[in-house]
């Protein structure tokens, strides 16, 4: 039986780990190689590196950091940030990534998902989606699986895709976009709640339920984790993996403690 995965995420800016709240107020959180090695030691199932400097300033991706982390890491490594073309993905994979996350560029040009999946395979093509509740709609209170009826025949989800670290609201429906990306070849969805990112209010369970129910690929829940109960709720809602960042970087807990909590909550984990 497949174990639920706990995935520490390192946001990288200028070769350092950073963390903010809703992608802003970034603060230093250490050296990527040291952090990645420590999390593997604690029992992390995978590591995600996101180059957060890549998109807003239009800079390239963190190849050197990937190479340095790969040298010490014997668990899977996913890298995202600034992937605009197939060759960007190739460069990250050559440096030692096992999977590549695509976000903003795929929203502008969905065929990028198909190009990367055809070249490198679906299992290494991760669609990263930043989801925000549409303005004027309650971000927390649940409705029927998170959908709103806009006309007698039309349902849309309560979330829209945001890009460029949340500065651009696209109006694109999150659930529709995830479904479309998987038909183009995305093999996994990294689903971040922009509303919850860095807040420690728990994952957006309605969002996870809506997306995991609409696609057949694994979904990684992201944004808002503070306690193992939050992780249990996300996994019960249909996520295959949970992403954690702030609480680990700040030393509030460890991967081992979180996994112990999952195990006590009846979730199968690798121990």
């Amino acid at each position: 039986m497949l174990a639920a995965r706990v995935i520490p995420c390192l946001d990288i800016k200028d070769g350092r780990v950073v963390k903010g709240v809703r992608f802003q107020q970034l603060r230093d959180a250490g050296d990527p190689v040291e952090n990645a090695a420590a999390y593997e030691e604690q029992g992390a199932d995978e590591i995600i590196l996101l180059d957060v400097s890549a998109t807003p300033e239009g800079r390239g991706n963190a190849v050197e950091t990937v190479r340095a982390v790969r040298a010490v890491l014997s668990i899977p490594l996913t890298v995202g940030g600034g992937v605009r073309k197939e060759s960007d993905a190739g460069r990250l994979l050559d440096a030692g990534a096992d999977k590549v996350g695509i976000n903003t560029a795929a929203v502008s040009r969905p065929d990028l998902v198909a190009e990367i999946a055809q070249r490198f395979g679906s299992q290494c093509t991760v669609l990263a989606v930043d989801a925000a509740a549409r303005p004027g709609e309650p971000p927390v209170i649940g409705t029927r699986r998170g959908h709103i009826r806009t006309s007698p025949s039309q349902l849309r989800s309560r979330w829209e895709v945001v890009v460029k670290s949340g500065s651009d609201r696209t109006g694109l429906d999150v659930v529709e976009w995830c479904r479309k990306a998987t038909t183009l070849g995305a093999g996994e969805i990294l689903l971040t709640s922009w509303d919850r990112d860095g807040t420690r209010d728990g994952y957006d369970v309605d969002l996870i339920t809506a997306v995991a129910g609409a696609v057949t690929v694994p979904v990684i829940a992201s944004g808002g984790a503070a306690r193992s109960e939050h992780l249990v709720a996300a996994l019960r809602a249909g996520a295959s993996a949970v992403l954690v960042a702030s609480i680990l970087h700040d030393g509030d807990t460890t991967v081992a403690d979180l996994k112990l909590g999952l195990s006590r909550g009846g979730i199968t984990v690798r121990r």
Binding site: S74, I75, D98, R119, F120, G121
Partner: protein, 198 residues
């Protein structure tokens, strides 16, 4: 220092395989031609991506015969993920392509009720007399070898039913999982394979 010849199957993840062997103080080198594969003490056939482009790449490099004869002869060879599937006759993924045909099985897709690809850690359970140990291994696959062929030992894993997670014959080891990404358990497996003799 033990040299390991890695076949460049053209797609991703070769860097992870090379990094894993370097951590074990082996010397991984990329194979340039079929002679390198014939003469090598140890060969790794990695593979991610689709069946057709990977087997086409092996044919382009002229390595089909060299690979087949060393695997038939039990020379130390490690096939990883798609590399293991290439040992079979063919695959549902690319019905028009012909595999190495060393293992008389057809590679099949996981059933529709499951989340596919299988991405994550699953339990490897050794079957028969093998050097494999039980443990958690990292998988990233949509297709699998359905049953253990005769004359091979190995291991199975459960994902909506049992599938073959490893096959072993002599010093030939084929893994559906990624030992290079399977933590300390995977490193130990690679280390044992490095010291195997034909």
């Amino acid at each position: 220092m033990r040299q390991v010849v890695v076949i460049p199957t053209g797609t991703a993840n070769t860097a992870s395989v090379i990094a894993a062997f370097k951590r074990l103080d082996a010397e991984p080198v990329l194979a340039a031609d079929p002679q390198a594969v014939e003469g090598a003490e140890r060969v790794v056939l990695p593979g991610v991506g689709a069946f057709a482009p990977a087997i086409d790449r092996i044919d382009q490099l002229g390595m089909r015969d060299a690979l087949t004869s060393r695997i038939q002869g039990g020379q130390p060879t490690l096939a990883i993920c798609l590399g293991m599937q290439l040992l079979c006759t063919s695959s549902e993924e690319s019905p028009d392509s012909i595999g190495l045909g060393i293992v008389p099985e057809i590679v099949t897709r996981f059933t529709a009720e499951l989340r596919v690809p299988q991405l994550g850690w699953n339990m490897v359970e050794p079957d028969g007399s093998t050097s494999l140990e039980p443990g958690w291994a990292y998988f990233a696959n949509s297709y699998k070898v359905p049953r253990l062929p005769e004359d091979w030992a190995g291991a199975t894993t459960d994902y909506g039913g049992s599938f073959v997670s490893a096959m072993e014959r002599g010093a030939v080891l084929a893994c559906q999982f990624h030992p290079e990404l399977s933590g300390a358990w995977g490193s130990n497996l690679l280390r044992r394979w490095l010291w195997k003799t034909a």
